[in-house]
Symmetry: C2
């Protein structure tokens, strides 16, 4: 064993073939290999998971029993591994309250700055008073929400043609309480049978808005056969009832239901800024904190002029943080931008920048393609950040496809040679220079000689979508011609407006063509959705099982073979195969179902066999193995073959949709589209090469060309120069991100862009063909 290394012995997770290797500590190490080769299984599933498990166990001994079940039977030993921190490309949960400012800790510093150096802080407000999430800071009118809800006649009585009896007051609760209110109103002398709009205005006003609470003896009128006793009833106006229920609603579903009877508008007191007036009266450089948080970071930097003293320290802190974020190509974001509106790549880079200030020492950082979504122009800065983390005493492992980042690593571990069962071996571990010598390694080949774009004439467009005066996010009146019947790339630095343009194209083209968005969003939000269910393959498979003699004898229909409904599934885990272990503030852990051992079905169902395999075993097959197994079943072979064509032969049929990476999900969608490829369809893709090895990117490009050849049009926002160079047309946006972007910098064939002096994309195309 070598000193200064993490030693992995006999790692067998997923497709890893008893991998034994030493990976250096205190270095930047790139893990490479084509998609599905096993990079993540090694870097995240084995090294990170093992480091994490050990440290957590030692931290809180009482967690050990829970985690014990997770102890990894998939690796013999991992030694010399320090505690680890993972940064993944996960999007923020839609409900998350975090923002660019909270993720980067900029918000905190801004608040301290307002408190200590703001003008007009006559009340001596502390930094908490500048946060809408504290009682001190929240606007008293909207409680820091920025919006206020109001109950109006229109919102509570959507159909004034109805009588009270027929449910005119839609916001009333149902069941007994609604009847009660109606009975009280009748007792009070109101006509509950007349259409609402015919009641006198004063009467309508009183019913909806009074603050009186009259008590009356009600003689209920209900179903004849039930005993009806008089009772004392109290009337509460519809508005008061609704606002009270809304304020007290315990869960989001109920809040949403009640909100439907309310109008919503910007808070009149804070104007949507969520803070109390005293806090908004405080300014710095002429702006209140909400205005500062709305500035793009690049602008924020401009208004922060260095100075001496305590405020100077805070300003220096802000300037330093912003400089790092700008370097990573994120200067177009504002501190107030909500995390759920960010892409996974943007969020990862924000977190990465925050780590520079976290002051960790001696840990292993494991990163998931930090270059995702980044323009090649920003790679330099990314590498700088990785080096700083290393220089502060840490180890940096990156799963990466970007060859510039790989070249900058101290060491590379290449996995392969293929995907799934054809991968899982370590082809090389050593300094980057040595990798190109490894004949078997696809990565080595690409490192040695960048792919040459086949020298063919760009296709000629068959038509043009002329878009004029586009306005969305940072597009401010953009005019652009989108060529049809060709492969078109939209380029530009992160934040240039590529995604915004795709959205405009989607809307503009909606009427004239079938618009197909092939994005990286998850296929489904629950692990119950998987490759087989998404592609419809599972219906075919279940019919096959239902058709076996065993199933017929037992009276099992196709639904018996679903794990989503009771019957055939294991009821202990409700067909999920595992049970959840909730660890508050830590990632949720899973343990295999003790009853079915992860097989999802009950024994009677598993006893039915088709071609000698149980339904659970079929779900365990890779696409490739299934292609062989289902030989002679055309309905199954069609989807399986297209999945193989997009390079997903290594995926398992039962692989939950939630476990697929963004890139994999995009290719599954692409496969589905390839099956029904239609002339005239317009395909829109957002960074399709994210997560793809250059070799996989080539396969993808070929698939997209086949869509064009079948008469379709493809527009893809993309950073990868090799991909862009292979397109027929390029629309280059920029020149910068955010306010400095959104304009057309250049357009034409890749060759024309390469020659364009103003384009930041041009230089990266110059070394390529065409």
């Amino acid at each position: 064993m070598t000193e200064g290394h993490i030693h992995v012995r006999g790692a067998r997770l997923h497709n890893l073939r008893s991998v034994t290797l030493d990976v250096p500590r205190d270095r930047i190490v790139a893990f490479t290999g084509i998609s599905g080769s096993g990079k993540s299984s090694l870097a995240f599933g084995t090294i990170y998971a093992e480091a994490q498990r050990r440290y957590l166990e030692s931290l809180a001994p009482y967690v050990r029993r829970l985690l014990h079940q997770m102890e990894d039977p998939n690796v013999e030993a991992v030694t010399g591994v320090p505690p680890a921190v993972a940064l993944k490309q996960q999007r923020s949960a839609p409900s998350s309250r975090s923002t660019v400012g909270t993720v980067t800790a900029l918000s905190n510093t801004l608040r301290m700055l307002m408190s200590r150096a703001g003008e007009g802080n006559v009340h001596g407000l502390d930094s908490d008073a500048f946060s809408p999430n504290t009682p001190e800071g929240a606007c008293p009118r909207c409680e820091g929400q920025g919006v206020v809800y109001a109950a109006t006649e229109d919102s509570m009585v959507p159909d004034p043609g109805l009588s009270i009896e027929d449910g005119a007051v839609a916001s009333w609760p149902g069941a007994w309480q609604g009847k009660n209110l109606r009975d009280i109103l009748r007792t009070l002398g109101h006509d509950v049978g007349k259409p609402w709009r015919e009641l006198p205005e004063a009467e309508r006003e009183w019913i909806l808005f009074t603050d009186d609470k009259p008590v009356v003896t009600v003689q209920p009128e209900r179903e004849a056969h039930r005993i009806q006793r008089p009772y004392q009833g109290t009337y509460t106006s519809a508005r008061n009832l609704l606002l009270k229920s809304f304020a007290e609603a315990k869960n989001q579903a109920r809040k949403d239901r009640l909100a439907a009877f309310l109008t919503v508008g910007a808070c009149p007191l804070c104007g949507g800024k969520r803070l109390r007036p005293e806090a908004l009266a405080v300014t710095f450089a002429g702006r209140d904190i909400a205005e500062l948080a709305a500035l793009p970071l690049t602008e924020l930097k401009r208004v922060m002029t260095p100075r001496e003293g305590a405020a100077g320290v805070l300003i220096a802190d802000i300037l330093e943080r912003v400089a790092v974020l700008e370097g990573l190509g994120l200067g177009y974001l504002s501190a107030g931008r909500a995390a759920p509106t960010l892409s996974g790549g943007e969020l990862q880079r924000l977190r990465l920048a925050a780590q520079l200030r976290a002051g960790l020492f001696g840990v292993v950082y494991v990163l998931d393609e930090p270059s995702a979504g980044m323009h090649p122009a920003d790679a330099e800065a990314l590498i700088g950040v990785l080096r700083r983390l290393k220089d502060s005493g840490n180890t940096v492992y990156v799963v990466e496809h970007d060859l510039d980042v790989v070249r900058a690593a101290d060491w590379v571990v290449d996995i392969g040679p293929g995907a799934g069962e054809r991968g899982g071996r370590v082809l090389y571990g050593g300094p980057v220079a040595g990798l190109s010598e490894v004949a078997e390694s696809v990565t080595g080949r690409f490192l040695a000689s960048p792919p040459v774009v086949p020298d063919r004439e760009p296709r000629k467009p068959v038509g043009t979508l002329e878009l004029r005066g586009l306005r969305r996010n940072n597009l401010r009146g953009l005019d652009v011609d989108v060529p049809l019947g060709v492969l078109c790339a939209v380029t530009g630095v992160s934040g240039a407006g590529k995604t915004s343009l795709l959205e405009e194209i989607a809307e503009a083209a909606a009427d004239m063509a079938r618009v197909v968005r092939v994005d990286q969003r998850p296929l489904g939000r629950t692990p119950r959705s998987n490759l087989a269910t998404y592609t419809g393959l599972f219906d075919t498979v279940r019919s096959l099982f239902a058709g076996t003699p065993d199933a017929k004898a037992a009276g099992f229909t196709a639904s018996r073979f679903s794990f989503n409904v009771p019957g055939g599934r294991c009821e202990t885990c409700k067909g999920e195969g595992y049970l959840e272990v909730e660890l508050l503030f830590l990632p949720t852990a899973y343990t295999p179902c003790p009853d079915c051992g992860g097989r999802r079905y009950n024994d009677a169902t598993l006893a039915v066999r088709y071609r000698d395999a149980s339904i659970a075993e079929v779900l365990g097959l890779t696409v490739e193995a299934a292609t062989e197994f289902l030989d002679g079943v055309p309905a199954a072979l069609r989807p399986l073959r297209t999945l193989g064509d997009v390079g997903l032969g290594y995926l398992r049929l039962g692989q939950p949709a939630t476990e697929l990476s963004g890139g994999e999900a995009q290719r599954v969608k692409l496969a589905a589209e390839l099956q029904r490829a239609a002339k005239g369809a317009l395909y829109l893709l957002d960074e399709p090469t994210t997560g793809l090895h250059p070799a996989d990117a080539e396969v993808l490009a070929r698939q997209l060309e086949s869509l064009v050849d079948a008469g379709g049009s493809v527009v893809a926002a993309e950073h990868d120069p090799a991909f862009v160079a292979a397109c027929d047309h390029v629309i280059d946006l920029g020149p910068g991100g955010g306010d400095e972007g959104g304009r057309l910098v250049a357009e034409g064939t890749p060759g024309e862009i390469a020659a364009s002096p103003g384009s930041r994309t041009g230089p990266y195309l110059r070394t390529r063909g065409r």
Copy 2:
């Protein structure tokens, strides 16, 4: 800044005086200084807390906002600090289900051994089947509890003189359901007015135990003025009702209430062994797993003979773990021993041993006096364990008083020179050898020349407590004479039976003398109890405030100045000064109360001043400062002076009881006793020097002598040779721990013990005086 060090800049926590120092990584570092000097504030409060906070923040970014409030304003910077693991001397929570076996992971290995190599495993049981905490393993009769509850006539009808109407069936629920059952029985023709014991046996039997569930139409008899309608009622026997409620009880309080109507006994099926018969039928070396878990570890080792194959690997694992535990003087424990019955020191050493196998790399271990409760003979092994942790790539920091452990460290950081405000400076940081040169350092002085025991004649006993045939834990018929009117030490290795003997003495002497136990148990379980409340000082202080003109004008009585009742206290935090932040699986975090800022009182109360201080400010005074502040108030000075005498002048009056260390709590109790020292009282102490610097131990010994001089008797279980040498008489138990202890090895003056060949304590006394 030096390489390879943790850099602490400007640490100001508690009494630390802006401490700036570099502490080496990858070394064993001892933090020394007298009690209250600031060792823990530096090692735990600053270095560990900072390491922990950073890593957790990076691990789970969404915890950051919560933890942010905890960000330490008490230190300018800590850099180069790897993630840390703390091992503290906390006792296990009384409700904890863990055992010696689970803490050390021995249980798991034992279960695997039974599963793979047990004889009679005809059912092929897996390792889970040998755990009473799994459905596979739990005895089906008692559900793995080891005890069964039964409902008997006696348990359900405690007073058979009552009639059913008067509540004979005490186990019945109250309110409506009880009346319902009574009404049903009357409807069924039973006499509910007759005393229970006069009902025929068959009738009583049916009412309590039938499995029938008859349904009858009940005409209720209740208060005359309420409408009574007939209804259909179902009878369920008292036993069935009780057992069902018991099984379904959601919380412990309810379970306890119901258990009062049940009898409890060992489970007849498993005999209390908690496992199902199939599991108990499997044996290894002729014993079932429960029997193996009951053996002292030293015995367990003997029955595990090394062999080849898979079982051999498991046996080797057990032997290796047990060897470490034996080395740490814990061989007398059994794997099945419940964690809550262990001392804090024993538990820390178990956890320490487990860490040897946890495989952590590159972390900082911070330990709290790992030698606590250890016989000097075991110090060697402890040092060995610390070295192994270091050799596996970790940093080891120990807060230690034991000079042998300190001498074995690579580096020592000495804090002082005094306690509290007279401490908090780093007197020395460097190799141990250099410390004795530091004139200011008390530790240095003790390292240079071990204390010489003043050469005086041992006192002669004024009487003898003759104890014969003692039986408790490992005492099996011990005969011993305990001298009275002297300072007597009970010695022996850990597990020798010292505590057991103290307990016997307490019982035997209960009738003849006032027995005072001065132990290390916490003064109180809630942070509402503090030094001032415990010593009664707070009553005096509150009267002083109530007597001020301000208080009189406002009509404030003494109770207004209590933070335990509404009135004067801050209601946001209910007088606690902070709010809890629950982090499941992580230690609970606290945040200062946003309203009172930790001052515990509301503004009106704080406005009242006595000698120009508010009540909150008085609670913030150290004992020493309070002695000056309350000059001329005899009722306050008496307790304050005795606290100072036992070396606690540095504690703050408001310091919560839960924050005091075991040693401090013991000294607070001692101070209380010193105030009422009575002739003829017998004082029993368990390891009073734990947590004490040798200099503090000397002060303590002088206090104990003063109790003897006042006519009392002192018996102290103790390991510290310096303390033992200063006693008049020694009772040495042993020779080993557990089954190998419990016998009288030697008795006499320290000099006589030193000369005794069989005693393991003797050699440590030889180098001392007397």
